[in-house]
C-alpha cells in the first residue's frame, strides 16, 4: 500500500505539473481565469485607451483580435500627438496659475503687512545679483549716472512673451502708466521707492517674473506621489512602497503593469477604481508637465546667473 501511495503521488504530481504549465501558458495568452479586472467593461476600456495615448501601456488588458490590434496601432498614432498637445497646453496654463498662487500665498505678496518687508528684502537680493553683471550696455550705465530711471528699457530678465497674459491673470494692474518705470527698475536706490506706492504694483510685478524654486516643484511631485500611494494603498491594500512604486511607474509613463488597480482584491467598486485611476493619471501627467515647465524656467535662470558670475570672475582677475 505504501509503495502504491508513493507511485500514485509521483505520477499524479507529474500530471499536475504539466497541467500547471498549461494554465500558466493560457493566462499568458490572455485567459483571465474569471478575474473581473481583465474584462472589457466600459471603465476598463477607458483606462486602456488612456494607457495607449499616454504611452503608459500597462498591458493588463491587451487586444486579442486582429482588428483590435490594428485599431490600437492607429489609435496610438492619432492619440499621442493629441495628448502631447494637451500636456504642453495644460502644463503651461497650470504653471502660470501656480506662479500666481505662489506669489500670492507663499511669498505673502497679497497681505499688506508683510509685503513691504518682503519686497525690501528681495529688492536688496536682486540688487546684489544685479551688481554682479558687468555686461551692462553703455547707455544703461549713463542713465544710472545721470540719476534718471529709464532702465526699464533693459529689463533684468529677458522679456517674457506671456507677460501680457500673466498680467491679465494676476488681475491688479499697475495703477498708472507713470508708475511703471519706477516699479520695474530693480537696481535703483532705496530712497526712490516712495511709501505712496501701492502693494498692488508689487503683486503684478512678482507674478510676472517670479521663478518658483526647484525644491517646491520637487516637493509638489513627491507630495502628489505620496497622496496617490495613500489613496491606492487604502483601496487596493498595497503597502506604502508598492503604492508609491505604482504611482511613479505610472506617472513616468513606464507602466510595467505588475500593479494595476482592481487586480489583487476583488471589489464591487472596481469600476470606480478604474475611473479614479484614470483621473489620477490625467491630473498627474499635467502636474508633471507643469513642474517641468517651472523647473525649466528656473534652470535657465540659474544658468544665466552662473554665466554672469563666471564672466565676472574672468573679468576681475584678468
Amino acid at each position: 500500500m505504501v509503495s502504491f501511495y508513493s507511485n500514485f503521488c509521483f505520477s499524479i504530481s507529474i500530471e499536475l505539473k504539466s497541467y500547471q504549465g498549461k494554465i500558466v501558458k493560457a493566462v499568458r495568452r490572455g485567459w483571465d481565469g474569471g478575474r473581473s479586472s481583465r474584462q472589457w467593461s466600459f471603465s476598463s476600456a477607458f483606462l486602456y485607451s488612456l494607457t495607449v495615448i499616454t504611452t503608459i501601456g500597462y498591458g493588463h488588458l491587451s487586444p486579442r483580435t486582429s482588428w483590435g490590434k490594428i485599431m490600437t496601432v492607429f489609435y496610438a498614432l492619432l492619440g499621442m500627438p493629441l495628448f502631447l498637445l494637451y500636456l504642453s497646453n495644460v502644463g503651461e496654463l497650470l504653471a502660470s496659475w501656480f506662479k500666481c498662487i505662489y506669489a500670492l500665498m507663499c511669498l505673502c505678496r497679497g497681505c499688506p503687512g508683510f509685503s513691504r518687508r518682503r519686497v525690501v528684502h528681495i529688492r536688496t537680493q536682486y540688487e546684489t545679483s544685479e551688481a554682479e553683471s558687468i555686461e551692462r550696455p553703455r547707455e544703461w550705465r549713463d542713465y544710472t549716472d545721470s540719476d534718471v530711471t529709464p532702465d526699464y528699457r533693459i529689463p533684468p530678465y529677458p522679456p517674457d512673451p506671456r507677460r501680457g497674459y500673466m498680467r491679465s491673470i494676476s488681475m491688479p494692474q499697475p495703477c498708472s502708466p507713470r508708475m511703471r518705470p519706477e516699479v520695474r527698475g530693480w537696481s535703483e536706490p532705496m530712497h526712490h521707492d516712495s511709501p505712496a506706492l501701492s502693494e498692488f504694483s508689487y503683486v503684478t510685478f512678482d507674478a510676472q517674473t517670479i521663478t518658483v524654486p526647484i525644491s517646491v516643484c520637487v516637493a509638489i511631485m513627491v507630495g502628489y506621489l505620496m497622496f496617490g500611494s495613500m489613496i491606492f494603498g487604502l483601496w487596493e491594500k498595497w503597502d506604502k512602497l508598492d503604492g508609491a512604486y505604482f504611482c511613479f511607474i505610472s506617472l513616468s509613463s513606464i507602466g510595467f503593469g505588475d500593479f494595476v488597480p482592481g487586480e489583487r482584491v476583488y471589489t464591487p467598486r472596481i469600476e470606480t477604481s478604474f475611473i479614479v485611476c484614470s483621473l489620477y493619471l490625467m491630473l498627474g501627467m499635467a502636474l508633471v508637465a507643469m513642474c517641468f515647465n517651472l523647473m525649466q524656467e528656473q534652470v535657465i535662470h540659474y544658468y544665466a546667473g552662473l554665466k554672469r558670475a563666471l564672466r565676472r570672475i574672468c573679468r576681475c582677475k584678468r
Binding site: I12, L16, Q20, G59, L241, Y245, I254, G257
Partner: protein, 356 residues
C-alpha cells in the same frame, strides 16, 4: 602667476601642475584643447550613445545582483498547493476507489478547480513558472533596464524585492534625462545626415533636367526640406524589417510582429508580446534575441527622433507657405472685390448716364 591660478580654477583641470611647467602656453593650451574636445565628444551622439549603453549595462548588473537571490514565495506556495492537491486526490481515490466513477470524477474535479484558482491567483501576483535565477539572466536584465529608462515598460520582468523597487525608481530618475539627451542628440545628428543624403540624391536626379539654369538650382537647393512622406517611408521600412525579423524568430504572424514593433517604438509597451520571453526552454537563443531587440529598440528610437525633427521642420515650412498662400489669396479676393465694386459702380454710372 595669477593667470595660471585663474585658468586652472575656471576649467577645473586636475593637472594644474603641468600648467606651471617652464613652457608656459603649450601645456595649458593642450589641456584646454583636451578638455574642450572631451566635452564636445561627450555631447556628440557617440559619447551619449556610449553613455546610454554603459548606463544600461550598469543597471542590468545591479538589478541582476539585487533580484537574483530573492526568495520567491509564490514558487513555494505553488509547490505546497500541488502537494496538497496530490494528497487530496489520494484520499478521494482511497475512499471511492474505482467502483464509484462519477463520485470520484466530481470530487477530483472540485479539488482540481481549487488548485487551478490558486495557480491563476499566483500568476496574477507575478508567478510565471520560473525561478528568479532563470528570469534575471543578464540579457533580460539589460532589457529590463532599457525598458525602464526608455519608458517603454514591457512588464514581463518586474522587480519583486523592496530594494529592487527603490532601485528602479532611482534608476528611472537618473536614466530618463540621459535618455532624453540621447533622443535629442541622435535625432539631430540623424536628421542632418538624412537631409544631406536626401539633398544629394535630389540633386543627382535633378541635374540632368535643369543643367542650364545654374542660378536657379542654387536657389532651389537652399530651400529643400525633406518631405514627411520620406520620413514615413523610412519608419515604415524600419518597422517592416522588424516585422520580418521578429516574425521569423518568434513564429508570430506578421500582424502580431507589426503590432509589437509599433507598440515598442511608440513607447507604449504592453508586454503581451516580448521577444525571447515567451519561450522558456531555449535559453541561449532567447538571450541573443533580447540583445538584438535592445539594439533594435535603441536604433528605432533614434530614427523616430530623426523623423520627428524632420517632420517638425517640414510642417513649419508648410504652414508658412500655407499662410503666405492664404494671404495672397485673400489679397487677390479683396482686390477682385474692389475691382468688381468699382466696375459695378462704373457700370451703374454709365447706365445712369445712358438713361439721361
Amino acid at each position: 602667476m595669477d593667470r595660471h591660478h585663474t585658468h586652472s580654477s575656471i576649467h577645473g583641470s586636475y593637472r594644474s601642475k603641468d600648467s606651471t611647467s617652464t613652457t608656459e602656453s603649450d601645456p595649458r593650451e593642450k589641456i584646454k584643447d583636451c578638455l574642450r574636445k572631451f566635452i564636445a565628444f561627450m555631447f556628440t551622439q557617440v559619447g551619449v550613445g556610449a553613455l546610454v549603453v554603459c548606463y544600461a549595462i550598469l543597471g542590468a548588473a545591479s538589478f541582476m545582483h539585487i533580484e537574483k537571490d530573492s526568495p520567491d514565495e509564490q514558487l513555494e506556495n505553488v509547490l505546497q498547493w500541488r502537494q496538497n492537491c496530490v494528497d487530496e486526490l489520494w484520499n478521494i481515490t482511497n475512499e471511492y476507489n474505482i467502483l464509484n466513477h462519477t463520485a470520484w470524477m466530481l470530487n477530483s474535479n472540485k479539488v482540481l478547480k481549487v488548485f487551478q484558482n490558486n495557480i491563476t491567483g499566483a500568476i496574477h501576483l507575478g508567478y510565471n513558472g520560473r525561478a528568479s535565477e532563470d528570469i534575471w539572466s543578464f540579457p533580460a536584465a539589460l532589457m529590463y533596464s532599457l525598458s525602464v529608462f526608455t519608458m517603454i515598460g514591457y512588464g514581463n520582468v518586474v522587480p519583486k524585492t523592496v530594494w529592487g523597487k527603490i532601485g528602479t525608481i532611482a534608476y528611472a530618475c537618473f536614466g530618463i534625462p540621459i535618455y532624453v539627451l540621447y533622443f535629442c542628440n541622435m535625432g539631430k545628428v540623424l536628421a542632418k545626415t538624412f537631409k544631406w543624403l536626401y539633398i544629394t540624391a535630389h540633386e543627382c536626379s535633378r541635374r540632368d533636367d535643369t543643367l542650364l539654369e545654374d542660378g536657379e538650382i542654387q536657389a532651389i537647393k537652399r530651400k529643400i526640406t525633406v518631405p514627411s512622406t520620406a520620413c514615413l517611408w523610412v519608419i515604415s521600412f524600419y518597422i517592416l524589417t522588424g516585422t520580418i525579423m521578429f516574425g521569423a524568430w518568434e513564429k508570430w504572424n506578421y500582424l502580431d510582429s507589426t503590432y509589437f514593433c509599433v507598440i515598442s517604438l511608440c513607447k507604449i509597451g504592453f508586454g503581451d508580446f516580448v521577444p525571447g520571453a515567451n519561450i522558456a526552454d531555449s535559453a541561449e537563443g532567447s538571450h541573443l534575441k533580447l540583445v538584438i531587440n535592445f539594439i533594435y529598440v535603441l536604433l528605432g528610437m533614434g530614427l523616430v527622433a530623426m523623423c520627428y525633427n524632420l517632420m517638425c521642420e517640414d510642417v513649419r515650412v508648410k504652414v508658412r507657405e500655407l499662410r503666405q498662400d492664404l494671404k495672397n489669396c485673400l489679397d487677390d479676393i479683396t482686390l477682385k472685390i474692389t475691382v468688381c465694386m468699382n466696375d459695378t459702380k462704373y457700370y451703374h454710372q454709365k447706365q445712369t448716364r445712358n438713361i439721361k
